[in-house]
């Protein structure tokens, strides 16, 4: 999938806004939102929040996790751990990109927040590359990927799944010759799963 499609999926996430106008409930197909009361926080889907913000109809309430202290902790934890740590949610990067893009003035210390989120992202991406290599070396037929977000998973497509497909194809096509001499093979095949 294209990153914009993942973003599209992530845009369904609910965020808080403070509208500067009042209006009755709006009945959308994806649910009812409102009533809108000027000055009072309320929940809407991310796509709607961005749209209203662009029309200068609201302020964005920064999500709890978009806070320097929280993010510092996440970053430290991510650096320390060998595995992927749990992110604030599945679409943290989409939310960060859209809110920081459209409503930087509503988010305290926005530019620092932006930098640290990018740092966390970069740490995770480089971990992801190491894990991919480890997965291939360990057998390359199965891997567990808890706590990776959809955008991160998407970033290894098609490379990782296709490489695993290719390995499988080689095994399948050369099976007869390989099974006969498996024992003196110089290469050991590990069936164990790899945690990434």
């Amino acid at each position: 999938m294209d990153p914009f499609e993942i973003e599209f999926i992530g845009e369904n996430r609910i965020v808080s806004i403070i509208p500067n106008f009042s209006h009755d409930k709006i009945y959308l197909i994806c649910g009812e939102f409102g009533p809108f009361r000027a000055g009072l926080p309320m929940n809407v889907p991310l796509w709607l929040a961005v749209m209203l913000k662009q029309k200068q109809k609201c302020r964005i309430v920064p999500p709890d996790w978009m806070d320097m202290e929280v993010l510092e902790n996440i970053k430290e934890e991510e650096k320390r751990s060998r595995f992927f740590t749990k992110m604030p949610h599945e679409h943290y990067m989409v939310e960060a990109k859209l809110l920081l893009g459209a409503a930087a003035e509503d988010i305290p210390r926005a530019s620092e927040v932006k930098t640290i989120i990018k740092d966390i992202w970069d740490i995770r991406m480089s971990k992801l590359r190491t894990s991919m290599d480890a997965l291939m070396k360990s057998g390359g037929s199965y891997g567990r990927l808890d706590h990776l977000t959809m955008m991160e998973i998407n970033s290894v497509k098609p490379l990782l799944p296709q490489a695993m497909d290719e390995l499988h194809k080689i095994k399948m096509m050369t099976r007869t010759s390989a099974s006969a001499t498996l024992n003196n093979s110089t290469f050991t095949q590990s069936g164990s799963s790899q945690n990434i």
């Binding site: 959308l28 197909i29 749209m51 199965y142 399948m172 069936g191």
Partner: protein, 216 residues
Amino acid sequence: MDAEDIELSDDEEEITAESVLKTLQNAWQNERLAPEILPHHNDMVECMLGQIQHMERNINKLPKTDLRSCIHKMELNRIKYIICNYLKTRLGKIEKYCIAIVNEEKQRIEAGTNYLTPSEFRYAQEYITNMESHLKNTILNHVPGNMQSFELNKMAIYPNFYCHVFLKANETINGIILEDLLGDQDEEIDIEEDSQHILQYKPIADLVKNGKVQLV
């Protein structure tokens, strides 16, 4: 301006438009990520089309500058995108795997478990007919006599069930068997609710179809 709750004829319980949209979105995501064509969700598509139609009529009654009009239009565009992309993805698979799909579908129709909608099935059959006549006109009718046959079996392309996919478990599932090609030790794994994995499509194909896992 109301997105009414709608009732699907076959089901007894009332289903909201909101839940239909969610299901359709998951179906779209699975269709995009699965190698094979999945059972169709035509009832969901038609339900959404009905909602869109209803909503569009109402929008037209609103003054152009009304804020609601933009919001509704944007939502409709989002849903239209899902529907178009979903149907287009299916068409792409139908074209690529046409011979295999039509063969299998004929058996499924007999069993009443068809994957394609009637118009998709018509499309697939017509597609093969057109392909056959083009290949005959250009090549097959001109080559030596014993080379002229249109060999469906050879030409068929099958989806790769051994390809690797990413999934997230909607519920805990025990005993998924991972085949070990080189040794004799197949591995059995359990997947807990919300855990994520990369593995072959084959052992989890049914779990995608019955909604126990979501492809990501």
